[in-house]
Structures are given as C-alpha cells and as structure tokens.
Symmetry: D2
Subunit: 374 residues, 4 copies
C-alpha cells in the first residue's frame, strides 16, 4: 500500500483537530493508502517534541522549512496562523509536496491566486480545510439538490454566527489586525459560508456587502488598561446573485450572542426547501411538495448509515457525528485524492474563489455599490 | 360608557378576522367604552346582509360610501383590497370618522403621506393592522429591549416568508398586478417585517435592496391555458442601517416552500439576543450574558400571565394565543385610544414610513445602489 | 333557525373561556342554529350582572337553580367548582335541559355514573369540556390513526404536566382537598390525558398506577404561618393496557417545573409515529415508513386549511390557533349536536369512563397492583 | 510513563468504536500513562489480522484465550456478544487482567454478581461501557443536580427508544434469543437508561414493569419463508421508586418508529428541571426558578469548554461531540483509573445493579406486581 507521510505545521486549535483525524482515519475508513504521521513543526522545539508524542508523530522540529524540505514528507499540512499560509504553501509546492491547508487560504485574493497558480503549475494536490462541507448531513444536502428534489434553487440564506468576540472586553489578538488576519469575521467565518454557498448553489456573480466593526477597541490583556485597535469587521452581511439565477444573502458575525457554531443555511427551490444548522450537525430539515398536500411539513432527517460516509463512523442511525469527525472525512478525501490521483475539492482554486469573494465584498462595502466578479 | 360604533368595509379574510375581534374584545378585556358592531359594507347586498348576521352587526349596505357617511358610525374599518384604501380613508376622514385600516396603508408612499396628512389635519384617530406587534410575546420582546436587557442593539435580521405562491401553478390574482397591489411580497408581507423593525429597533436611515420575480407568468384560472403576467416581486431582501447605529437585513418571500407564517426575527445586542418565530407565536428565545457563564443558553420563554395582555386571554401560562387573538389586542388598543383620546400606534404616519421604506427599496433595486431615507 | 339559549353557571377561569367561545362561534363557523347568550349565574348578584355585561349575556342571577329552571334556557353550562357539578347537572337534567359541563364530570366514578344514567334516561344532550381533543391538530392526529397511516398502534405515552403548584409555597386552595376536588393532578389534568388516550387509542382494560403528594403542606395564605394539609396527589403515573393490544404510560404532574401546558403524547404504530405537544398546539410531528428510506424523519406539520375546522379560523396555513379557539370548536359541536340531534362526544358516558379510570388508578396505587376495568 | 497494553476481543460494531477511542485518546486527552494497542482477538484469523492493521494494533489472534493469558496484556476489552461476557471476564480476572467490558455485563444478575465478586476478590479494575454517561453534557447534568441547582429530585422520566427492529420484516438475529441475549430491549437499551437513572438519581428500591413482544416471529433471512421465534421483549416500561423518595418511569423500545438514538430523560426537582435527548447530545435543557419570574423558560445549553472534558475535544463552544467521542472519555477514565489506581464507575458492581434491575423488572412483569430490590 502506498505510504502518505504527513508533515504537520502548527499544533494549536486546528493542528490538534487535524492530528485527531490523522490518528483515527484508518480505523474509521477503508483507505487505499497508508497514512504515516511523520513529522511535526512547532516554533518551540520542546513543545514540538511533546506534541509529536501526544499526536503520535514520529519526529518533530522547530523549523517548518526543515519539515517542508524533508524528503520523507509527502504532504505538508499547514495549521499555522493565516498570514503564514502563503510562504509555507509556496515553499511546500516548490519542494514538490502536496499541500493541505487550513482556511482562509490567504489574506487576500491576489496571494491566493499566486498560490493556486503555483500549485497548478507544479501539479501537486491541494486541499483546503473547509471541513463543514464534509459532514455527511451536508453531503446529503448536496445530493438532494443535485437530484433536483427541491427543483431549481431560487434562494439561499447562509449565516455563520458565533459569539466568541461578543464580549466587548474580550482580549485583543492577532485575529483583529489586518496584517495577520486580513478581514475579520468575513474571512474567518464568512469564508466557510461562502464555500458552502459555492458547494451547494454554485458560482456567485455579483455581491453587495455591508461590514461593521462594532467594538473598535479591546483590552490588550485581562489585567492592563491598554487598548488595542481592532482593524477588521465584527459583522458582515451581503446580498449575492448566483450564476444560476438564484439570489441570496450571506451573513457572518463573531459578536452574535448565543450563537456558538451556527453555520446555518436555508436553500429554497421551486419544489422544496432544505434547512441546516451546524449546531445540530446530524440533522437536515427537508420540505418537499412530493408529500401529500395535507401532510407536508419540514422533516427532520437524522443522518444515518443510508447517507454518505456515516456508516463508517457508526452502523446505527442518529448516533451523531462530532466536529472532529468531519476532519476525518476531509483527511480520507486527502488520502484518496493523493493515492488515486483524483481531483480534490475544495482545492486552492476553490479557496481562491472564496478569497476573491471576500475581497469583492470589502470593495463593495467601501464603494457602497454592487460589484461583479469576473 | 362611551359608545364606539364600528362600520366594517369588506368581509373577506381580514374582514372576518376583524369581526372575530369585535365580537370577543369586550369579553377578553375590560374596556373603557362600549363597542357596537353597527354596520357592514360589502359589494353584494345579500352577502352584506348574511355577513352582518354571522358577524353580529346591526345593519348592512352594499355602498361603502353610505357607511362612511352614516352619522351613527364612529370608526370606519377598511378591510377592502389595498388599492381602495386611499379613497375610502380619505372619505372617512372627510366625514370626521376615525379610521382603522388594514395594511399596507397605500400602494405607495405618496398616497400614504396624503392620507396621513389628511388624518392629522382632521384630528381623527388612525390605526393600521400590523397586528403581529400586538402579540404579548412581541410586546415582551419590546419590553426586554427597552429595559436594556440585551444592551445596545447591533444587528436585526427580520424575515417574513410564506409559501402561498410557491407553487408555480398558483392561479393569477389581483395581488400580482401593480395597479391593485403595488409591489408584491414587499408590500404584502415585507411591510409587516419593516413595521416590526421600526417597532423594535427604530428608524431606518439607509437601504439597499434586491427584488426578484421568479414566476413571471401564472395561469389565469385552474382550467385555462391563458397566462397572466406577474408584475411584482416574489422575493425581496435588503440590507438596512438604523438611526441608532445597528445594521440588519430584511427579507420576504411568498415562494418559500415550507414557511407558512414565518415572521421571524433575531435581535442581537451587546448583552444578549432575542429570537422570535410567528409560527410559534407564544415563544420567545432569550440569551442573556447575565446568566452564569457555564449555564448560558437560549431560553424559551412561553408567554403567560406575567407578560403584557396575556392574562386577559387565560390566567394559566403557556396555553397559547392564536392569530385572531392578536386582532383582539389591536381592537382593544383602538377602543382605548378613541375613548381616552390617547395616541395609537402604528397610526397612518407609522404606516406611511413603512410605505416609504418599500418605495425606497424598489428605488434601490432599480438603481442598484444604497438609498437614504430623508 | 332554531335558537339555543345558554345558561352559564360560573364566570371564573373556565366560565370566561366558555363566554369567549359563545361570543365568537357564530362568526367563526357556519351554524345550523342561533346561539343566544341568555343568562349567567354567579354567587354574587353584582358580579353576575357585571359578567353578563362583559360576556354579552341578556340576564343574570345569583341563584343557579333559578337559571336551571328558567323556561328560556335550553343548555345549562356548568363552570362551577368540581364538587358542584353533580347537583347542578342532576337538577338541569331533571328540568329537561341539555348539559354542557366542565371536566372532571364528577369527584368519583359513582357520581359520574349516576349523572350519566340520569342524562341517558332523560334523553338530553351532554358534552364535557375536554377541549384539547377539539384542536384541529388533534383531529388530524385522529384522522391519521383512523386511516391506518401509522399502522396498528403498539404504544401510547401520554403526559399532562404543568408547574402551577411546583412552588412549595403556593397558597393552599380548594383544589387540594378531596371534598372539593377529589383526587389531585389525576382528576384535574390527568383526566385530559386519559380522555385523549380514549379518543386516540380506545378503551383501557388494565391499569397499574403510582401517586405521590410531594408537598403535603402548603401555606393557607401568603401572609400567614398557618399551613393547610394537602389531601391529594401532586404527581401520578400509570402503566395501562388497551383493549386493542397496545400498551402505554399515562402521567400527570402539577409540580413539573418548566411545563406550562404540556399535554404531550407519542403514539407509536407499526408503520409510523405521531408526536404532539399542546405547548405547540398547531404542530403535529409525523414519522412514516412510506417516506423513502434515506429521507425519513419526523415531519412537523403546521395545521392549516387542509385540516379539520382550521379554515374557519383563518384561510392561511400556520397562522396558529390559541387555547380559546378550541372552546369555539367545542361549542360548535354542542350547537350542531343539539340542533341536528346527533351524538356528542365526549358526553357524560365518556367522561364517566375517565372518572372510572381515575378511581381505578387510585385503587391500584392503594393496593399496589394491576387492576382491571370492567 | 506506565504502559497500559490493551487486548481487544471482538471487532464488530462496538469493537470498532473502542478501537477509534484507543487511537484517539492520547491525542485528545493528556494521559498519565501510555496506551498500547497490543492485540486483537477475532474468531477468524485473517479477519483478526486485517482488523489489527485497520485498528492499529500490534498483534492478532483467533483465540481469545491466548489473548487473555498473554503476559503482555494489561487490560482485556470484551466486545464479544453478550452471552460470552461471563466466560471471558472470569478468565481475564483469573489471569489477573483488568477488564473493560461492553454492556450488559451479563445475561442475568446471578452471572453479573459472580463476575463482580470475582473481580473484587482479585482486586483488578473493571469498567463497563455505559458510554452515554461519559458525555460532557451528561456530566454537566450530574453536576447541576449534585450542586442542588434543581433542588430535590422528585421525578425522573427515562426513555431509550430506537426503531432498529420496528420493521416487522427485520431479519431474525441472536439478539432475539434468550440464550444469547437474555431479555430484549430491556437489557440491550433499557440497561443504558437504568444506568443513567442510577447515575443521576441514585438507587432504585421498587419496580413494577410491563414487557411486550409485539412481533413474535421474524423472517430467518431476507430470502426465505422460514420464521424465527422471538424470545424477548420489543418494548418495556416500568414505574420505579428511588431510595431518595423520587418516583419515575423508565421505558425502552426497539420498535419505536422515528427514534434513532433517543436516550431521553427529564429530571424534575423542587427548584428546576433538566431535559436531555441523546439525539441532540451536545444540548441540555435547564429550567430554573432562580431566573426572574417573567423570564423563566427552558434554556438550551450547548456544551462547551466551560463544561467537563469538552475543551479537550475543541476549545470552541457548541462545535459538537459525536458518539465515538464518548468512548474516548470512557477510555480516558479507564486509563486514569488503572494508572492512578483510583475507582472506576460504572464498574462490575454498578453493572450488576443494572442486571439486577432488569431481572427484577422481568419478575415484576411475570407476577404482575411491584417488586422490591434488596
């Protein structure tokens, strides 16, 4: 069996989520190749060593470039902060490695395009961590739409709201500076709902957006009086028009009290409607006109073994997947794409299109007008 | 006790809802005056007579002008189709009657302003049937916001979706022609969610809207092949900015499969969030940061006797009000405003502001830009 | 049109609910007869007069026997406290009146049977106010079961929980004394869920019950230190076996914090399942194996004009009925049964069967064994 | 770091779930010891080898006794069919191994007691796979009850319903024969809700149960006409009394259409109520009288990093755990109990108490009476 040796850069929030997926994927799924947890890079050598132990990796380094250039690495997995994605990805591509990167791919569309073109020129595989679309429930949603069960899509309302910065006294962080994070909730969370819209409804051709920074200053640390200046958006919403004629709204907020992981959408078609909320990630609401007229209603489908990928996790319906399970599906895709040399999605190009929409939304807001995407 | 004699024009959908409220209001609420169901006007004399019997009215006529000018009528209640509101209201005002009108007040803002100025000049009382704001649950929402319990409002997402025209083969009707109905879902249902936004968050200063007619032709009748041309919007959404700094989106659709009466809103503040869905009209979801940190969550408050007006319907909590009950609250307001000569809301001016926003949204869509409201 | 003249005894909680229904029924429904609100009896003459005014009745009296024997009364409507039902009903029957009574019919099965036999001998119409079964949503439930859509019923779980006495410091009342109320939550609320089980699944043949008084003493009034001794059950549950082979549990509590009007049931059949919660009284959850296997799920049907009786209240779906609307359906039934001389349900005999099950449950608890109903 | 070497018997449904937990636990949690996936036993040698590869185990065997007696095994993990638990556990105990077993521990209480006494005499650690209580949401439930936040528990309604045998044509299996499975849904799923009741409310002292086999025959295979005779219960419910004075009902069904993994409970106390549904395993509903009177309602708490164990899976709230994640918590407990030599729960004694209640329920049903547990 072909070996696929992973080099993981970054062991924080997302690095750990990736590691859990690497550990579990071969037990959950039948794989065509053998995944090897080869090397970890982390800024501090001691931490790198400790994380290699915890995450079950063979080796570790404090120098991500060493990892990128190591001949025994097949895939470079980038879980470092957003502003480092570009340099790392370009180095990995130059070294002929496949690249698995967290989202957003880059701080802006230009960078994302540069990375995309480099990857395509090099012929390596890329995959970007828009994990929510890997959920069996969301795959089922896609299937239902693709089979025409809700007819032609006429409206899409997509929301991704959380409250992790709703407290005005939340401590300042790198996420709030454009230099390190680009836009705010737009690229951090909005990118997920944009990718979801692309996945479920298709290309977006026009956008008109409004962004707002509600809390323009935040304390530098819990115990100081110094304030940091917030440089990007707390909340954003936009109207969009899809290539297929549907219209919709996309919205994201990091200050929406009570919303914890509310990636939420409603897809309305000419024959039915689908509703999804990531906070109940194993449920899909389906309304279809095929039901007898006086028996119509939104039907809560609990994901089960009849649906894509679910049975690998559990043979009984409704037992529920968790957040980390979606990463296992994503890593399964990565493995199969590399071993069988088949296309991966969302690749860098798909992620570039997300960055492009983010930039277009910012332009639209700045100039207070509708902007078309070429 | 002062008598308030009602003259009802129109006995269809809304006329019946009003009649039920007239019949029940004195039993539900302690009133300062005595409501008399005096006269009904309906185009057909026989139908008028029959409805007077069913609705418990003393007299009937096939001539609405006779009703308007009858000396024994104190309030003219307009439940006729939208395009007739203006003429009837102006006639009633000229005759010195108080006017209770269904919404939208007029087909456009100019007409609405003319009616408003006439009413204000005459010094009569006006009330427009935006009944959803009369729901005890919505009154509670208003109270919670007013008392600062969710802090400063930063975002409002308002939706009013139904599926009454989602079937592409739904028969053509007067509602689909601008001459009789003005805009489509925008004025029919959107007007309710605009009024709700005004009620809960305050004046809107800027709007950018998108409208779409999805089904541009509909069969003239079930059994013909003739098609009628639809002249107004099936779905609309807009971004808005409020005078108080909050931003938001408003949306309405008459083709949203599965949504039956989904007047839905989420009001996000700096200290909490409120969510409401008219399809569960006795429930309010409240999230507040005042709760212990590890015990926070959206709380489903079932309306009960502790909340405004509820106890008059039932002394036990959670027993649930229905659609017609909101009209009883509205009629109670009408009665008290007239008897005590106190302000009523939403009056013609408030309804004019709704019409004004509808017109502004259409302009915004036509010119593909943000438009300010003076 | 035949006149049906109502004499209402009692103007408290239920008296008001009946009055609202009397006021509204002819406007909501096409009726075969003419309902006349003729006379009110209330212990205090002044209160009786005031309520007659509010409720729209012609006359009033402080002597219920005067009402019962008045030749211009066709129906005696008993909304007095439970321990008075028997005397009043027997007097009304003796006077040849039809009787409309609140539930529970009597304090025990013996009394209920005596009343039933008297009514049947006199040939008058009787109807008992188990209003929850009159809800269009519940009628739809019955229809679905009757048409075999969920196959053979195999299980019924019925609950009726509220929290109106959950506070241990709730003031003592007549409801807590056997002399005035009979059993506690069992007859007050349990009677509703028993009637619902009879309506939806049919006769019960065996029962095994457990009852408990959790708060055995309650303060006599808010401002005293005196305590009243509670003589009946705060919570009860029972296992039952139905004549048709299904088994089930019935439960009721008046101390279930958070439950406001939670008459809740789940009916499981060999081909599907139905779930209902009175706190969302316009929703029915249906699961059916007829749906495509990978699209199965509980479907939330919002009651609308396609369902029994709904369209009379509103021609649009999902607009929602309220608690008082169910009484309007009940009064419509009363009117039609009397005018057309057709059977009414639940009549005294059906209500006697509820009382009988309550008594049997108490016996079962006392003797800690299963007890059969003859 | 102390090594804990696992020997896993059985690689079916539960074996795979355990394997996923073994693979992931050290990445998710900081552990005091090092877990080694040492050996797998499966009846077929080839399958054993394949599963060792997939599950990441070092060795494999087709002889479970070889595994049990292997000196390099510290923990014997029993995921074999129920009727083999006893022999395997006793052999493992005799070999001085710790035992981690799936539930139910045994086919009856006598066997479970024998196993318990053997384990206690040997001084080895035992843990039984009642994984649902390991969910952070359920741990939070326990915390809330323990801290008195809902006052004294007065009622517990526990349900565990699924529909995996609701189809009357489901193929016959070993689970339907007493010889291999003991009782039916009672021990298979009922055991979970009994354990949950023990965990949350404490010991049960009296029980009165009803069991029913609805489908007494099932086809032997999809393509034959032969029928197998079902020897155990399809549905069961019981009334229980707890040592602390609370009463309750427990229910389980394997034929409850629509219910997929509905381990559901409602715990009512004198100051509040908690509701949980395993189908929404990251949500807890809390009602507390501490909330302002007119703001009370069931609050939906989404499990997050403030709650037990959650942060190890994800640092963001509301991202959701899945079914397999609960096994990771269980394995963490196993590891810590063994390494630190601290008590584990639910151990064999706790599992024996579940078996004991199952047997008592069957006796109660057979003799149609309440039965006390010694």
């Amino acid at each position: 069996m072909k070996q696929v040796r992973i080099g993981l850069i970054g062991t924080g929030y997302m690095g750990k989520a990736h590691a859990i997926a690497f550990r579990t994927v071969a037990t959950v799924f039948p794989l065509s190749g053998k995944l090897i947890c080869e090397m970890i890079a982390e800024v501090d050598a001691k931490l790198a060593e400790q994380k290699a132990e915890e995450f079950g990796f063979v080796r570790s380094t404090s120098d991500w470039q060493e990892l990128v250039n190591d001949p025994n690495i097949d895939v470079v997995d980038i879980c470092a902060p957003n502003h480092l994605h570009k340099e790392m990805a370009l180095a990995a591509i130059a070294a002929g490695k496949h690249v698995y990167s967290e989202k957003p791919l880059a701080l802006n569309a230009d960078d994302a395009l540069e990375m995309t073109l480099a990857a395509e020129a090099a012929g390596i595989k890329t995959l970007v961590g828009f994990n929510y679309i890997k959920n069996p429930t969301v795959q089922l949603t896609k299937d239902i739409i693709s089979h025409g069960e809700i007819g032609d899509v006429v409206h899409f309302r997509g929301i991704f709201n959380e409250d992790y910065l709703a407290d005005a006294n939340s401590v300042f962080s790198w996420r709030l500076k454009r230099e390190f994070s680009g836009s705010g909730t737009l690229s951090d969370m909005g990118s997920h709902i944009i990718n979801m819209a692309h996945y479920l409804v298709g290309p977006i051709t026009q956008v008109c957006a409004d962004l707002q920074t509600v809390h323009s200053q935040r304390p530098m640390a819990d115990d100081t009086n110094e304030m940091g200046h917030v440089e990007n958006d707390d909340q954003v919403h936009m109207m969009v028009r899809f290539a297929n004629g549907a219209i919709g709204t996309l919205e994201s907020s990091r200050i929406a009290w009570g919303r914890k992981n509310s990636l939420w959408f409603e897809v309305t078609g000419t024959k039915g409607t689908l509703i999804y909320d990531q906070e109940r990630l194993s449920e899909l609401q389906l309304y279809t006109v095929k039901d007898t007229k006086n028996h119509q209603g939104f039907r809560r489908i609990l994901t089960g073994p009849e649906h894509p990928d679910y049975a690998n996790f559990c043979v009984s319906a409704g037992h529920g997947l968790g957040y980390n399970d979606m990463k296992a599906v994503e890593v399964r895709d990565l493995m199969e794409g590399i071993v069988a040399n088949t296309p991966l999605w969302p690749d860098f190009r798909a992620a570039y299109q997300v960055n492009q929409l983010c930039d277009t939304a910012e332009l639209s807001h700045k100039e207070a007008r509708w902007v078309s995407l070429e």
